[in-house]
């Protein structure tokens, strides 16, 4: 799994490539926590190249969403494939997350 971070002004885009499962969840969480500690509070999670997300991966997204809420920031999940969308829907998370079709749309939402 690969995570690339890009900043567009005050918005940080985290692009996740590969499988976000138990093995890699720790790394993803770490990356996010470091950015949050650096004071960033507007995030776009770009899932367009994410092949699969497990419940451990969902946990990372939930932790991120909670943190962002605590910092009075915003989080957008972008580029979800049908399969990934199903997982989010099944977990009930869709109701508490902002979504966008693409990362660009997500960035626009947060301006």
């Amino acid at each position: 799994m690969n995570i690339t971070t890009m900043e567009h002004g005050p918005v940080v885009v985290l692009a996740i490539e590969g499988r976000l499962d138990g093995q890699h969840a720790q790394t993803a969480e770490q990356t996010f926590v470091e950015l949050a500690q650096a004071g960033k509070n507007r995030f776009v999670l770009d899932f367009s190249r994410m092949a699969y997300i497990s419940s451990a991966g969902l946990r990372v997204v939930l932790v991120a969403a909670k943190k962002v809420r605590a910092m009075q920031g915003r989080l957008v999940c972008a580029g979800m494939s049908d399969q990934v969308r199903d997982v989010f829907e099944m977990s009930g998370f869709l109701s508490i997350l902002e979504t966008a079709a693409t990362a660009e749309e997500g960035i626009a939402l947060l301006q």
């Binding site: 099944m90 998370f93 109701s95």
Partner: protein, 456 residues
């Protein structure tokens, strides 16, 4: 009779010869003794791998041929380039051991840096000699011979002898002898170091093995404790329903769970859940969740109300985990089902004729995901012969070697084949179906399945 002067000549000649012979003999004897010393050293070195013992033995042998008042072996500290004493023989030995020389300090430091031996027979007049050690210990230094200990082109230390006895000076021959002694010393040091490293590795390995074994036994115990949370007895055959459940953890302890118990004469409570993550943290969270459920559920509570209350308790300490869950109450007389869910995969009702229906409940968040989450109730009815099946995503997401998933579709196909099976039979068959699909790929996630059949 020989003339007097011839006798004198002869005597003188004989005396000269004798003297010469004695000198030659002495030289040869010295050579022989030196060689013997070196031989003895190599024999001694084989008798122990302890570094200090080896060095002490070497020095004792050296002193037989090169009697001196004090001798030291210093080694270079690879990290700081300081020299530290590894052996200090002589009356001030103990005090000297505490001293560390800065890089390049004194004769020892100089020899360590240049790799060249140095003889100093008049230290006071020699600017290279540092009197620090001498002053600190009160030892009077008359002369010193210092040689480097070299191993594979690197100076690893310094061998220094001080104050040749009987007030004699150090000679070049002494230097050669000491240099020759330094060679096996370097090898001895290397061997001893390798042996020490090996000993340390062995100790570390032993420790790790011990820890691993202890962890394994603790995990087994934890697994046993966890299983004891689950109901062990299935209700008897004369009940109007047949409920059965199975839990199969991916590791010794897992995060999936199920439970069922009667609330009163007519009502059976049942639940299946999945804690995010696996292993011990998930198992602990699972234990707390089940305990809260069992503690709070009452006949007058709906499943939605129960989950709302449990979520509030669980979320209070802001845990790092969450648990998806489905739970329900089955009225054994009427067949009514009231269900509530939080982030869990869709249960299925399988009708007596084999038709399956996804139970689309109003979705809520998993337990402990967010505080103040509200949970909703959905109502269904099981006719005689109908059943409801709850499971965790360890079933639908089970993968084969091609990383394909078992999927909801295969599960649905399977369910159509289950009319007539008891709950236990259904569960057995489902597990088998999943195993055959996985075709040897290892179980990556916990699995839990529960089947509740209203008897026909």
């Amino acid at each position: 009779m020989l003339p007097g002067n011839v006798v004198v000549l002869l005597l003188g000649g004989a005396a000269l010869l004798l003297l010469g012979g004695i000198v030659v003999y002495a030289a040869i004897a010295h050579r022989v003794r030196s060689a013997k010393v070196l031989f003895d050293i190599s024999m001694l070195l084989n008798s122990t791998l302890n570094r200090r013992e080896q060095i002490a033995m070497i020095m004792d042998s050296v002193k037989k041929v090169l009697p001196v008042e004090a001798a030291s072996v210093l080694l270079v500290d690879a990290a700081t380039n300081e020299l530290f004493f590894v052996l200090a023989q002589g009356e001030k030995g103990e005090e000297v051991q505490e001293i560390r020389l800065a890089p390049g300090e004194g004769l020892a430091g100089l020899v360590a840096q240049t790799g060249e031996s140095i003889i100093v027979n008049d230290p006071a007049a020699d600017s290279r000699w540092s009197d620090r050690v001498s002053v600190q210990t009160g030892f009077v230094t008359r002369n010193l011979l210092t040689v480097p200990i070299v191993n594979r082109g690197q100076v690893e230390g310094v061998l220094q002898v001080i104050n040749k006895t009987k007030n004699r000076k150090f000679t070049d021959r002494d230097r050669q002898l000491l240099e020759r002694v330094a060679r096996p010393m370097a090898v001895a040091l290397e061997n001893a170091r390798m042996y020490e490293q090996l000993e340390q590795s062995m100790k570390a390995l032993q420790q790790t093995t011990m820890i691993k074994e202890r962890l394994e036994s603790e995990l087994q115990i934890a697994g046993g404790i966890q299983m004891s949370f689950l109901p062990r007895t299935m209700p008897s055959a004369h009940e109007p329903y047949d409920v059965c459940a199975l839990l199969k953890s991916a590791k010794e302890v897992g995060g999936d769970f199920y439970n069922f118990f009667k609330l009163d004469e007519d009502r059976l409570f049942f639940t299946v859940g999945d804690v995010s993550d696996k292993g011990i943290p998930a198992a602990l969270f699972m234990a707390v969740t089940l305990t809260l459920i069992k503690g709070k559920m009452r006949p007058d509570l709906t499943p939605g109300q129960l989950l709302t209350m449990v979520n509030e308790e669980l979320g209070r300490d802001n845990p790092l985990l969450f648990a998806t869950i489905v739970c329900g109450v089955f009225h054994t007389g009427t067949g009514e089902l009231v269900l509530s869910e939080g982030g869990h995969c869709t249960p299925y009702i399988v009708r007596a004729n084999g038709q399956f229906e996804p139970v689309r409940l109003r979705k809520s968040l998993p337990l402990a995901a967010m505080p103040d989450t509200v949970y909703y109730d959905g109502r269904y009815v099981l006719e005689p012969g109908d059943r409801i099946v709850l499971y965790t995503d360890g079933i639908t997401e089970a993968e084969n070697r091609a990383q394909e998933q078992y999927s909801a579709e295969r599960l649905q196909q399977f369910l159509t084949m289950t009319p007539g099976m008891s709950s236990a039979e259904l569960i057995d068959a489902l597990i088998m179906h999943v195993y055959m699909f996985a075709d040897g790929a290892p179980q990556s996630d916990d699995i839990a399945v529960l089947s509740l059949l209203r008897r026909a």
